[in-house]
Symmetry: C2
Subunit: 271 residues, 2 copies
Amino acid sequence: METTRRELLKGMTGMALGAVATSALAGLVGCAPKEAMAAQGTATPTAAPAFPWPYQKVDPIAAAERAYAAYSQGGCMFGAFEGILGELRDKVGGPYLTFPSAMMKYGAAGVVGWGTLCGALNGAAALLYLVLDAKAATALINEVFAWYGSEELPNYKPKAPKFDTIKTSVANSPLCHVSVTTWSVKSGFKTGSPERAERCAWLTASVAKYAVELLNQQADSAFKAAHEVPQDVKACLSCHGKGGEVENVHATSATSCTVCHTDIKPNHPSK
Amino acid sequence: METTRRELLKGMTGMALGAVATSALAGLVGCAPKEAMAAQGTATPTAAPAFPWPYQKVDPIAAAERAYAAYSQGGCMFGAFEGILGELRDKVGGPYLTFPSAMMKYGAAGVVGWGTLCGALNGAAALLYLVLDAKAATALINEVFAWYGSEELPNYKPKAPKFDTIKTSVANSPLCHVSVTTWSVKSGFKTGSPERAERCAWLTASVAKYAVELLNQQADSAFKAAHEVPQDVKACLSCHGKGGEVENVHATSATSCTVCHTDIKPNHPSK
């Protein structure tokens, strides 16, 4: 089945790229470069495979560099998503030529500035669910989120950075506001500074790189989670999560509960 | 330009639907129903328009009902996104026939159970950015988020609900964990209960309905934001936001700061 789909896709890539060059389509979208047209979903494949879309191993460094460049065009979610999808567009072609990556710009700064979910995580999660079955996608998303919350990041320096060094921090949360403020306090840079934007660009590249590394492990049937839900979070969820005595939290995973719940008393839970 | 794109799309719809029925594609995806195939992005348009994709007014109630049904197939993000995109697939056709909506299942319960951004909001935001230019999409997403955080929800009862009544609550946040726990505490139902799942299904329908109402207003050049960033949040951001004295928050919008920052002292800021 996999071989059949790959063979089909290889054939489709050429057809789709040929179709991109048609004068009718060029008239529709103006004289945009071929890659930009593809990024906007203006290519014209003649068939598309079933969901999820097929993954072929790509270079994590290439995805990171593409993510870094895309960050400056559309923010963190677009950066992480397009960093990986762009590599698949070039390597696999087929359906990836039609995907409107630009829609992912909505996730910037925790969705148009609301500071909710880190856009790099939002974009990586969307991409992972596009190319994996539900079980594998969930496992890899869990790993990316747990890694993001517990590691010193960013851990990837782009080849042509705007600053030579960027301080790292441990986010302790998948949320944009928590992640950025934690970094700002540690680094001493304002959240509106060029250094903060560069930190988020490196972080976007770091997330894209890690997601691709995991995807490549999964493609080799070699993926194994390296970051788990911390013991203190498990202890909280044993009471507040599904089946617990005080079942009032609809979540199965977190990096930390106390990063927000700062008022938990030492004798909690008091009977 | 708009007329030209619409005319093109009308022509494309027929071609795409015809292509779906080809025996070659049927062999690729098995004997799936036509609508299910389209939902998985297996249709075969022969051209796709530029980004953003064209919006035509659809029925908010139809989108809400479709969102409610989709919730039970793939959760809150898929529900809100597919609720609206499914209507566009039926009415506009063209590129919407190819979009792999199933990827949006990643956003369930704040992304695979992490309790971050409410999936209904994540799905609505993704859809809005797909069909509007950046400025309009940002304005409508801001309105949906602000409405979600400040209104008694859910405010839409599906035509064939699993429960006759569902209590409402004001989320005070766009975050899944805060929204669900607030409802759980108010209603007295556990977060793992069928009543909570039904509440989230109604909420998904409510978000899809409101997003479509706003889209239809925008299509009539009649959109005007009805919910703004609260004054107390503006006061916080005047110091902590962009250009403020203590610039350590990378956000421009929020429903409430004190819903998480419960330890702000009455004399804050103390000089």
